[in-house]
């Protein structure tokens, strides 16, 4: 019995050491997002609280904690409260399999990439539950939009993942990183990287695909009725999801925790720092795109997902498979 308790204690210790940095980096990333947004629009962005305004998000969080939580009278109370919890939990749970270096990973499971894909596809539930439980028109329209959007773009993300898996021959995330030791997949699979990035924008409801919360039409979409800490949880979950998508992109295409080239001054830098740099690079792209691109129309969004991305990634899948087959480059599996 004591052994089990010890194991449990160790696991909880590890989980806390994973979650606290993620929550802190989510706070920092919100600040970075707003700074980049400000820079693009020739403003200063948040610069008052703390050095360079670094503590702005913490101040915001404090404000949200002390605000009153209002639950609409006609809302379905259980589902209404459950929705932000689901969003936040799913956004954090996925980080269990992300490898920061060869050994620095909470759960090194065999089907890591499938786990990531499964958890990110569950993310739609938070939004759909929140939108329905509010019992109001705007949130419901937002929820319907986001359900259709996320299910559509998941399909092309799935096929892109298959593309990468064909080259790797394993579902383990560490294996995927190690397979890119010679060549990052961003070079041979560059079109897939672009499509993955755009699909990730749609999957996380970021501009230009933020139709579920399009403020011009739907007030704030599925989070219209939320206030106080519950709104903040939606918000944190959203940013944790964005970070997760960046991490997924850097593992699948940018070589995860590997240095750019394996030479002396570069390979001394510890692996987690390389991973963090790659995540930050992808996040900067996310932030710049938010600032410079106008919102898509809904039918154009659906057309892009189903009529362009899906056929194109399928064709590229066939091309990758035939290339690997004819040049005898298919990954060898030792059974």
């Amino acid at each position: 019995m004591i052994e089990y308790l010890q194991i449990l204690g160790q696991e909880i210790y590890k989980i806390i050491f994973l979650l606290v940095p993620i929550l802190v980096s989510v706070a920092m990333i919100v600040w970075l997002d707003r700074r980049v947004w400000g820079l693009v629009q020739k403003r200063r962005g948040p610069n008052v609280v703390g050095p360079f305004g670094l503590f702005q998000t913490l101040a915001d969080a404090l404000k949200y904690i002390f605000k009153e939580i209002i639950i609409p009278a006609s809302a379905n109370k259980v589902v209404f409260i459950l929705a932000p919890i689901v969003t936040m939990t799913l956004a954090l749970v996925a980080w269990a399999v992300i490898p920061m270096s060869e050994n620095l990973v909470l759960a090194d499971i065999n089907v890591g990439i499938l786990y990531l894909f499964a958890v990110s596809s569950l993310g739609v539930y938070g939004i759909i539950m929140g939108g329905w439980a509010s019992n109001s028109k705007y949130p419901f329209l937002g929820a319907i939009r986001s359900a259709a959007q996320m299910v559509s773009y998941e399909v092309s993300i799935g096929i892109i993942i298959i593309n990468v898996l064909l080259c790797v021959g394993s579902l383990n995330l560490n294996d995927i990183v190690i397979a890119q030791k010679e060549l990052w997949y961003v070079i041979p699979l560059f079109p897939m990287f672009v499509i993955f990035f755009i699909s990730a924008l749609a999957e996380t409801n970021r501009p230009p695909f933020d139709l579920p919360e399009a403020e011009a039409e739907l007030v704030a979409g599925y989070q219209t009725e939320y206030s106080g800490m519950m709104y903040a949880m939606f918000w944190l979950g959203e940013y944790a999801n964005i970070l997760l998508m960046c991490a997924m992109g850097s593992i699948l295409f940018l070589g995860g925790w590997l240095p750019i080239i394996d030479i002396y001054p570069l390979n001394v830098i510890p692996a987690p720092i390389w991973m963090i740099l790659k995540i930050l690079l992808l996040f900067l792209l996310f932030a710049i795109i938010k600032a410079i691109v106008p919102r898509y129309r809904y039918d154009q969004l659906m057309r892009l997902g189903w009529k362009i991305f899906l056929p194109f990634s399928l064709i590229y899948l066939v091309l990758t498979a035939s290339f690997l087959f004819y040049f005898d480059k298919l990954p060898k599996v030792n059974i």
Partner: protein
């Protein structure tokens, strides 16, 4: 082993409880939520017996896609809550149908499980072996060699059902203006605006 059985009973109790709640709960939305919970706990059970690939696929396909569309449809239909619970209603026609279906399913299960348990060599074709290789590799090896025909046939059946569903819902509507992206992009200022002499009492006909 204690921890293993604790987790097993935990997940199986949740699975059984939520599948009971799917049929007994009065609001349709709650039924769907319990169905999702059921899928998730069954997926966890799959992972516990070592079938990690099947568990993840269950999560991705059923919870991530099928149940979302389910929820979507139920929310759109706005089904009112049932006034009576399922066993009290007198004129309910669901109970006989449900009984017939469940007796049939029970019989099928009895035949399959009985044949598998008490008669040797019913499953003569090769099945998965427990070994060091991950079960994703094993599934792939069996599915693309021994069962390739059935695999492809299943794919064709799914494709046919998809085409059938599209064909059933597709109808050509008359008088709907469609956008052509090529036309929109290839517009240029010289041809975009057209000046017309309008005769009195005749007007101008505007199309496309």
């Amino acid at each position: 082993m204690i921890a293993h059985s604790i987790f097993f009973y935990f997940f199986s109790i949740i699975a059984i409880f939520s599948s009971l709640m799917v049929i007994t709960s009065r609001s349709t939305i709650n039924s769907v939520f319990f169905l999702i919970l059921d899928f998730i706990s069954v997926g966890c059970l799959f992972i516990m017996v070592g079938a990690e690939f099947l568990g993840m696929i269950l999560l991705i396909v059923y919870v991530g896609a099928v149940a979302v569309l389910f929820l979507f449809v139920v929310m759109m239909l706005n089904v009112a809550e049932q006034k009576q619970s399922w066993f009290i209603g007198k004129k309910s026609t669901h109970i006989p149908t449900g009984l017939i279906v469940s007796v049939l399913i029970l019989l099928e299960l009895l035949v399959v499980v009985g044949g598998w348990k008490y008669k040797d060599n019913v499953m003569s074709s090769s099945t998965l072996l427990l070994s060091e290789t991950s079960n994703t590799h094993q599934l792939g090896l069996v599915m693309y060699t021994e069962y390739i025909l059935y695999f492809q046939l299943a794919g064709i059946v799914l494709l046919l059902s998809m085409i059938g569903a599209i064909l059933l819902t597709f109808r050509e509507r008359i008088g709907v203006k469609k956008q052509s992206y090529i036309k929109q992009i290839s517009r240029n200022p010289s041809t975009a605006v057209e000046l017309k002499e309008v005769k009195s009492n005749e007007g101008v006909k505007i199309d496309d």
